[in-house]
Subunit: 459 residues, 2 copies
Amino acid sequence: MNANNIQELKAIVGSQWVATEKEDLICYGYDATPGFFNLPEAVVQPGSKEEVAAILKLANREKFPVYTRGSGTNLSAGSVPAQGGVVLSTARMNKIFAIDPENWTAVVEPGVIVSELNAAVEKYGLIYPPDPGTVTTASIGGTVAENSGGLRGLKYGVTKHYVTGVEVALADGSVVEYGGGNVKAPGYDMVMLFTGSEGTLGVLTKITVRLVPAPVTRRSMIATFADLAGAGRSIAEIISNKIIPATLEIMDNYTIRTVESFAKLGLPVEAEAIILAEVDGDADTVEADAVKMEKILRENGGEVRVANSAQERDQIWAARRAALPSLAKLRPSTFCEDATVPRDKVPDMVRIVTEIAARNKVEIGTFGHAGDGNLHPTIVTDLRDAAEMERVYAAMDEIFKTALRLGGTLSGEHGIGLGKLKYMPDQFGAEGMAVMRSIKLALDPNNILNPGKLVGEVH
Amino acid sequence: MNANNIQELKAIVGSQWVATEKEDLICYGYDATPGFFNLPEAVVQPGSKEEVAAILKLANREKFPVYTRGSGTNLSAGSVPAQGGVVLSTARMNKIFAIDPENWTAVVEPGVIVSELNAAVEKYGLIYPPDPGTVTTASIGGTVAENSGGLRGLKYGVTKHYVTGVEVALADGSVVEYGGGNVKAPGYDMVMLFTGSEGTLGVLTKITVRLVPAPVTRRSMIATFADLAGAGRSIAEIISNKIIPATLEIMDNYTIRTVESFAKLGLPVEAEAIILAEVDGDADTVEADAVKMEKILRENGGEVRVANSAQERDQIWAARRAALPSLAKLRPSTFCEDATVPRDKVPDMVRIVTEIAARNKVEIGTFGHAGDGNLHPTIVTDLRDAAEMERVYAAMDEIFKTALRLGGTLSGEHGIGLGKLKYMPDQFGAEGMAVMRSIKLALDPNNILNPGKLVGEVH
């Protein structure tokens, strides 16, 4: 980039929306992933799709990289400006254009915060189900680009199950629109192609999502297991009894001990695992499912506590929500991964991760979404300790290769970014990667959009 | 194609699986869409993915078209070999590889018939929800390629909501695999890109689908409306009361009269519309929703009959199932379209289609999936009557343009194929089409896969 480029950016968005001072740039040089940092050359904050399109047209002509950034909560270095260029922040594009309570849809700009959309649709008795841990800070655009999940994924699915329309500014500065309020639509599924594409194919400028009725009621419980196998059998039996909890979470012993030492919630520090579960829906179904689920948990050795008030429910979920923050307090650096395995492999995966931690002499707490196999082995370490970091990366290699060996995937909800890029050929093979790269090149021939991420280098 | 090509095809699959006699070719020259016919040069029936890959490699080298064909039930001329070349039938690739009752998945070859999969998973208390009208004849591969819907779409969604993994032979003869049993996966969503791509990007050789628990019970009802507006209000109120019927269908007066004259089911031939609905799920929810739904239908002027036995239920659905066959008996040619509009525009669309029929002096019966706005305006006519056909095509133009004007889409579940190709730029614009064509060219640079369909000519 040269001084002219900066001037042109200022002409597009107004000079107050272009930052080039080092103290500003530093804030946009990293995201929530440890170990990745690089200064961008400028940060630009467009206020409309026309401005986004003009920025891309300029970048495409001058061939500088554009890194779209929502709230920077990314856990796979997906929003780090690794090759310089411009960070395009969607923070100003935060309008809710429309909520349609008849057709259960909402149309939003990418910078709307997920929890703000939920607050806005609540009065119609509707919810937008995807609820990543960062729901109060993450932008919808970021969650669509990363296909984020969350605690309710087992019953409600992930972000892709709710996106029905996208307006996208492409690398050449044209703006296209696919889908809309209809669930059914013909043509290549461009809506799904852009969803989860991690900012490598275009910049989302408008998103249409599907809403669903809020559940009438819900029931939460927590079960303590002396042995992991009992927790595993419980998960299998809950599902095989055709109960679909909204949330079905697991925490391993390391995580339990860590949460307890910080949050003092009275968790059983000797337990090998705890399961936290919630069923929601109509009153009768919830009641029946909760009774069945409690019985299954007990029969498999679980000590069960059912929440009998909103306060007791909050206590249960406070324990789950404390998992990542508590682990993060242990050491200076936290790698929260999201290796995903088939549901019936969850106990194997938890056990193997514990073995990997011991073998490599690193500290790993594992918790996560047992119901859909999406675990969060969380490595706590210190980036400044080179010897330990070598063991951390070795452990990470083993974790991801184990997930794939068990029939799983590299990422359930955090994306690939740069963090997991090197494992991609293990999952997709050379030919599978080549096809994805051919799509990247078809849509972004100059490789200006989040270059080097997800599909790696394409030239 | 030359004689050598035919010999090479025989070498790949065995000579008994290559047909070149005219009487064989004729059977593969058309599908269920009137007005489209062309002879292929050969029909080839591979028995494995290796054979499919070898056929594509040959076709790519020799640059002849390949038209993948399931059971030929397509309603948009998607499987017609319009430019000669080879029809690739998946009929022999009909193995169910695996059913996993723990993880609720099934892995099948593309030639498996949809109802056969349902029969195979029934004993585990599971269902595969997509149920196009052709469920007993359509192949899973065809329904994935077309992203087929069906009667249960409102609650259960369409085929794309159940496909979690695909193995695909590409134009160059390589075989790639994306997704699998996990709902969560990183990378470009290639599974969704191939789903609904109408055979233009690759040939499906293996498909993984998600299964769901069979509903415990269900309740059906039929409601007769003297005026269409009452039916429309009912649909809106059912949804705004947060009831999600598995099935919520509408039939207009023309369809009612036609069904009654053929099937003698005691339908009210004076009614402007009937609504047929079914709620399914747990016993208590079904009971509560059925009571609420009946009340809404009555309050809006509906005369309601609730099925109190399996036999009465069958009677209700026999009326709906008789719609297309009855209309098809009226005249020699039947165009069953699937223009889709937002749910709240269904009454407008039904009324406008009736006006279009009158204005163009053609006969149109409209029925379909009111709950998701996916209607089937069905034009009955005679292809041999050139003057009438001119009016038919004029009416079709008006129908599709009306659907788009009301915020809808060209196709809810039948695909674009050749039948609706000319309307695609109206929905996607020149730039939207260009992006889809760039993806087609990235994956199929020689344009051998179902050329000319869905995205039109690409060179």
